[in-house]
Symmetry: C2
């Protein structure tokens, strides 16, 4: 399913990203007050244009809701208006948003959240006691006993304690300190924040950030926003997308010629690849980071999405501690988790946490300062995180991915055709980064099994037809 044949490139490039509000000038009324100067009517050049805007933001290539997804929206509207197509609905396999795909939220989680939201329900006999107990505990830790107060910028104390207890359990007793836990607005926020602190230097000493290719597009976007240097290391497609430390070595050596590689980002389990790193691989990576003096970022949001019985999730934190004091007291690590994935799939609440290890005390102060600027993460998301780290109910899948591509690369063309002809919406692989000359697309497997069968059959038929036409 993963590899699509190399495709003919077409020139067309759908870039327009949303209608321009037309009602603006129509409504203008005359000014009542007399002004010193009454200017002539004319459309002036705008202040904020593609030319004058922040070039780092312009350079962001974010494969989120690009042309494919915009087209999907258009086709849905056409279907609603009764226009005939060779299919009757658009199936959105481009984004792993479990609840959007019909997965029901976990009752217990939503009960606790409802109790926190509207505490009158604490008197209702239709809610279980354990849910009430959790809700009371969370509310007691909130200012004014309400989700409506700002929390501490680092997050509600007792929730950070629960997260630390969860990590300790998960890691077989390796202790976690609530002081090292920062609650965030989804993992996205934690990742952007720590990268923001890490980037410095100019010219050849500008910070280099190593990221896997294919990557999750947040990384390249934030690196671009921060004007840092993206240092690619390629995952080994021929080896189930495994991470190879020799490739890390190649990448860091090459990068040293034009920047200062300071950060190594790992996504484990991988997105979009789904690979799960072995314990040995993680040790090698940690040793490499120690050797090369790299700050480690471990994106572990898919830690509960391991399905194969051959694979087991090992946290970087745990392996780091088990490697002994030279590593455990020296290697700087930030790892991330989220309410969006795992069996909960609570994307909309935007809950998440970051655990930091060996962070310099002064940097902790800087981190709190930076987080304080935007006050605090949503308290409802913090509450959701609290419930995620508690009930030990085993998981149900919820991978996800956003994607956008600006140019009509061959895989973009393939996906666009697939969508137009079958109604199946997937993400072109170029949104994640690829070795030159190879083409992929990525689809999530969230639809129910019956739907999935239809989907796969349709993809197969389309693929054969496509190859006949363009090979």
């Amino acid at each position: 399913m993963q590899r699509a044949a190399a495709l003919v490139r077409r020139g067309c490039c759908p870039r327009t990203l949303g209608p321009w509000g037309r009602s603006q000038s129509s409504a203008a009324a005359e000014a009542s007050a007399v002004l010193k100067v009454r200017p002539e009517r004319s459309r002036r050049e705008r202040i904020l244009t593609l030319e004058s805007m922040n070039p780092q933001v312009k350079a962001v290539e974010y494969a989120v809701r690009g042309p494919i997804v915009l087209k999907a929206g258009e086709i849905e509207l056409e279907l609603q208006r009764g226009i005939k197509k060779p299919f009757t609905e658009v199936i959105r396999a481009n984004i792993g948003d479990a609840q959007a795909m019909g997965q029901q939220p976990i009752t217990f989680l939503r009960q606790v959240m409802a109790l926190c939201t509207y505490p009158n329900l604490l008197d209702s006999p239709s809610f279980p006691e354990d849910a009430k107990k959790r809700a009371r505990r969370i509310l007691q830790a909130c200012g004014g006993n309400s989700l409506g107060s700002y929390s501490a910028s680092q997050g509600v104390n007792c929730i950070r304690e629960d997260v630390a207890a969860y990590i300790t359990r998960r890691d077989g007793g390796v202790p976690a300190d609530p002081d090292n836990i920062y609650l965030t607005t989804g993992a996205s926020d934690g990742i952007s924040t720590i990268l923001k602190i890490l980037v410095s230097g100019g010219g050849k000493s500008r910070t280099g950030v190593m990221i896997p290719i294919p990557q999750y597009p947040l990384y390249s976007a934030v690196i671009s926003e921060l004007d840092a240097i993206q240092v690619n290391y390629y995952l080994d497609e021929d080896n189930c997308w495994a991470l190879n430390v020799n490739e890390l070595r190649r990448a860091v050596q090459q990068a040293k010629e034009h920047c200062n590689p300071k950060v190594l980002c790992i996504i484990n389990p991988g997105n979009p690849t789904g690979q799960v790193q072995s314990r040995k691989c993680i040790e090698d990576v940690i040793h490499f980071a120690w050797e090369e003096k790299l700050f480690l970022l471990a994106d572990e949001v898919y830690q509960d999405n391991v399905y194969s019985s051959d694979c087991k999730f090992h946290s970087f934190k745990k392996v780091l501690y088990e490697m002994g004091p030279e590593y455990s007291s020296n290697v700087e690590l930030a790892s991330f988790h989220s309410t969006s994935k795992g069996y909960m799939g609570e994307c909309g609440y935007r809950g998440g946490y970051m655990e930091v290890i060996n962070l310099h005390p002064e940097i902790k102060g800087q981190l709190v300062k930076l987080l304080s600027v935007r006050l605090c993460p949503p308290v409802s998301g913090q509450a959701a995180m609290d419930i995620v780290v508690n009930p030990p109910v085993p998981g149900e899948e919820s991978f996800e991915q956003f994607s956008r591509a600006h140019k009509m690369a061959p895989d973009m063309f393939y996906c666009m055709k697939l969508l137009e002809e079958t109604g199946i919406c997937v993400v072109p692989g170029s949104g994640f980064g690829q070795r030159e000359g190879t083409y992929h697309f990525r689809m999530t497997i969230l639809p129910p099994v019956e739907k999935l069968k239809t989907v796969l059959q349709k993809v197969k038929d389309f693929h054969i037809k496509f190859l006949e036409e363009y090979a």
Copy 2:
């Protein structure tokens, strides 16, 4: 109450910002796998230090939960442990967090939120029909009919429609287009995002951002993060902190010598000053922005917190339209609102919106791209915003403010003493910026009237005593 006397500066500077996690090395176990190199035990220099970190982040001076508030926490702990003080509780008048001060959330809002969170409650007879109707409408617009799905990056469609309808009502019929509405993670997020897009250029053409002094500290922090140039214009303290266009002129002329002033930020009603701009003043500002080709940012989060019968809130959007087509089709404006203020005071949900006027269509695409990088604002916050823009119940106050100061400025010293001697926690004025040689503090007036009387009496007594001691 506003002005504190000039104070003696003391040397002490409480900077430590949180304990350093001590349990880290104690827990290290031996590695099970044999590594190529087994390094010696030693504490190496850290990668991320004050010297190596992002200098723009380091330069952020954010007056959020600085020394005064940390001290307040310590004193609370001491009181809990039974240590005797000349007061029995700490009264937190430093931060306008209405619900943290005991204000009860609006029942209707919380009912709708609870229904959205746990839709089983839609069958419960104890919830009113109108709340159910709202909840159903919101859920139908969410992916999978759940708050647990990511929304569109710009926000849920029907909520943007409700916001547009609210603005149209508020502005006496001046139309608002849902396409111009972007839901955000609190107003903070909208302000940071639009500034991020606006900043460009190097050296003398680096973007200058004009902000009022005193300001809300988010502005100076974001300007520092973005390495933009902060251009101060002073509000006129002798004239109830009014905005004077001549002062804008002075500031912009001076700024042009070393940067490219491109953005003018207005906070109306003001924080921390509380001043409400007259219609005439707003017209003058808009004309000035037109003349000087400045992109306008109107922070209107306190639009429902106008108490004096002499004052009336006018939105920049409305005045802009009433000034005629030259302005209404040319001046670029972004205005901001939030669930945190007004009669709701729902800070914890982090809901907010931004309305943009005359934004270039290509920039709208860029904006959506940038928002997409972090996926979407919390959907529960979006739902809260929906309810805030709907019920036309008139307001109840909820000003707020965070503050932190790094050095022991005279006003910091004054506030520290005030806290230690009376238990009253206020914010030193230096956190907001001041004219040289003037000193202020800022307190919120959220405590109930009886408590407020005690508070004011205590402040008075302290002030007299303080002047005797240090004058």
